[in-house]
């Protein structure tokens, strides 16, 4: 297990290096660090002097190494708009996005697992047929349409739920949390449902397909021949094997979900990293964009590493491979 974790972390570092290289190339080509530091009203002579002083005339590789060194120290450059370190800006926005993704992931798990399993063991049931038909439809509805529909029904027409912002938040050591107040939770409902709706059909279908395949295997047949109760066959023997591929896909999809937060946060005026990202694009705040890229990359890699470790815990084959 230990060797497995070490190997996994090695891969994670590699991925991060690639992300940082892409991020740095963007910054190097289209960014303007001079502007980030002193603004736009400076004479060309002063700019040239500053460029030299900031090391912007150094070779690409030298600059890249400096970028990585700084990044490791937590310095991802200055945000031109906020006049603050880009990382600081992102950290102040991160809780909103992380909580949104967390609640969305929770919804995904809680909804897709039981439905996926049910439709696998009762494929002819009316509910299964309905779900399958509906999930085909669900795959083809774009997220902003779902979001607008939800807002129209639950916020505008019924007036049950708020349609924008995070509501009341509580400060826990610098982390602005909306999970601890009723108002905050209410504000989370519509955005997280919209975000979850993108991946829900995919997950239900994945879990169903995996589970159905497992139910056909020899070892499940053997479990029946052993006279086990069906609850044990379904929810232990088949389910545990179903989980393995699902965990892997889940890890990847969580990462992809960050991309979708950009849309969702914009529709719901959710003050998170995604919303900030779009604003940064409008303001050509390059340092902030690159910092966003790097931070999301880190989150993506961390989540995937965690998921892989969980996979290793569920799958005995991996565990032993690591032990050796």
């Amino acid at each position: 297990m230990f060797a497995f974790i070490v190997r996994r972390i090695g891969q994670a570092v590699l991925v991060m290096l690639v992300i940082s290289l892409v991020g740095f190339s963007i910054k190097n080509r289209i960014g303007d660090p001079v502007r980030d530091v002193v603004g736009e009203r400076v004479t060309p002579a002063e700019r040239a002097a500053l460029r030299q002083k900031l090391g912007l005339n150094d070779p690409f590789l030298v600059q890249y190494v400096r970028f990585v060194e700084n990044a490791l120290k937590g310095d991802l450059g200055l945000s031109f708009f906020y006049k603050k370190p880009a990382l600081k800006v992102i950290i102040s926005k991160a809780p909103a996005t992380l909580e949104l993704v967390f609640v969305t992931a929770l919804i995904l798990i809680v909804v897709s697992l039981p439905i996926g399993v049910f439709t696998a063991i009762r494929p002819r049931n009316w509910f299964s047929r309905f779900t399958m038909a509906f999930s085909t439809l669900g795959v083809s509805i774009p997220v902003f349409l779902t979001a607008i529909l939800l807002i129209y029904v639950f916020a505008v027409t019924l007036n049950w739920l708020p349609s924008y912002g995070r509501g009341l938040t509580v400060d826990i050591g610098g982390w602005q949390s909306g999970l601890l107040t009723l108002d905050g939770l209410k504000h989370l409902i519509l955005p997280s449902i919209s975000l979850a709706s993108i991946m829900l059909p995919l997950f239900i279908r994945l879990i169903r397909a995996e589970m159905m395949e497992i139910l056909e295997t020899e070892y499940i047949k053997f479990a029946w021949a052993k006279g086990l109760r069906r609850s044990r066959i379904w929810f232990l023997h088949a389910f545990k094997n179903t989980l393995l591929p699902v965990i892997t896909v889940f890890g990847v999809q969580i990462g992809i979900m960050f991309a979708f937060t950009i849309l969702t946060e914009t529709v719901f005026q959710w003050q998170g990293m995604g919303f900030m990202f779009l604003e940064a694009v409008e303001r050509s705040d390059t340092s902030l964009l690159v910092a966003y890229l790097v931070v999301v990359g880190v989150i993506f890699v961390v989540v995937n590493t965690l998921v892989d470790i969980i996979y290793g815990l569920v799958n005995p084959t991996v565990r032993v491979a690591g032990r050796k």
């Binding site: 070892y219 053997f222 021949a225 086990l228 545990k240 094997n241 032993v320």
Partner: protein, 352 residues
């Protein structure tokens, strides 16, 4: 006193999209306590389906369409789900072909043994673990305490089949159905596992239905033998009688195909042709297109099992010629040119 197992006129059908397929057609046999029976025949003859039909576990869309399976006098195919569940793995155990696929990869060997006991007995987990340990010792697994906590992939194929046998025996069943238990194993290990299974069945007075292609194994292990062809039993009786003096032309072909019996260097004997698929079983005797003794009646009327000497044979020629078969020489090559109808009967189709 009841028979241990009595299968009566068993018919199994598969409800397929294009109609019903009869996989088992009127199979019947009996087995006494502690008795071992071989079930042999070519691939697709219906051996596995028969095995699964006994514990009422035919995979969808198959079902028992006729007949009864009596186990200790109880009709298994008429029991409730719960009553049937409590017989499976408890009174009747199964051993599958491929030990690499039979064990659940994410559960420890101990879990998979203990759960079988807990599904049928009101005992504590500790008590169950103790029984499991005993059985692992019985199948000669070294350091069983350690092995209980390991996962299937930590065992070799032969070891896994030992574990499967231990699982099958963990509840001290009255009957074991072993479906080609050694086919997937190394040749060197096959004999070892077969020997073990035989010893354990003898020691525990466990009945055994041994499904196999291997007539050599059958003659070493079993007392009774049933030969299946295209869903029916064509010959059944005492193993030594049939193996030493096969009556049915198909059985004769099988025995002559055994490599051990012919002189080294000569060509392996083969039964000409292939077994028809179930969708195109020829009319009359299903074996007639491959039979060197085929006569007119064989092409029109299906034969029934009838006593010949001390065994039963389903063959017109054996019945009429009193066991002395004279080749008629009309081995036509029969072409499957029939399709299934909705009623499941094969009919000739005209044109292509």
């Amino acid at each position: 006193m009841h028979h241990l197992l009595e299968v009566q006129d068993l018919e199994v059908k598969f409800a397929l999209r294009f109609g019903e397929l009869t996989a088992i057609n009127g199979v019947g046999f009996t087995l006494e306590r502690g008795e071992r029976m071989g079930l042999v025949g070519e691939s697709g003859a219906g051996k596995s389906v028969t095995g699964f039909a006994i514990i009422n576990l035919i995979s969808k869309p198959g079902y028992i369409s006729r007949g009864r399976v009596l186990f200790e006098g109880r009709a298994l195919n008429q029991l409730s789900h719960e009553a049937m569940r409590d017989i499976r793995g408890n009174r009747i155990s199964m051993i599958f072909q491929d030990p690499m696929m039979t064990l659940n990869p994410v559960l420890t060997v101990g879990t998979q043994m203990v759960e079988t006991l807990l599904a049928h007995r009101r005992i504590s987990r500790q008590a169950a673990a103790k029984i499991a340990l005993d059985k692992l010792r019985m199948v000669q697994i070294p350091s069983p305490e350690k092995r209980l906590t390991q996962y299937p992939h930590e065992f070799s194929g032969g070891m896994r089949q030992r574990i499967v046998i231990a699982i099958a025996l963990v509840t001290d069943p009255a009957l074991i159905i072993a479906d080609e238990p050694t086919t997937a194993l190394d040749v060197t290990i096959q004999a070892e596992i077969m020997e073990l299974l035989l010893e354990l069945c003898q020691a525990q007075k466990t009945g055994l239905v041994l499904i196999t292609h291997d007539l050599a194994v059958v003659s070493q292990v079993t007392e009774k033998l049933a030969v299946m062809y295209a869903g029916s039993i064509v010959e059944k009786g005492a193993t030594d009688v049939i193996v030493n003096d096969p009556a049915h032309p198909y059985t004769q072909g099988l025995i002559r195909a055994l490599p051990g019996i012919i002189t080294p260097g000569s060509r392996l004997h083969q039964i000409p042709g292939v077994m028809p698929s179930l969708t195109s079983i020829p009319p009359g005797c299903p074996f007639h297109p491959r039979c060197p003794f085929c006569a007119a009646v064989c092409r029109t009327t299906p034969p029934h099992l009838a006593p010949v000497d001390s065994r039963q044979v389903a063959c017109h020629m054996v019945a009429t010629q009193n066991g002395r078969l004279e080749p008629t020489g009309i081995v036509e090559t029969w072409q499957p040119d029939t399709r299934m109808t909705a009623t499941g009967k094969a009919v000739e189709t005209h044109g292509r």
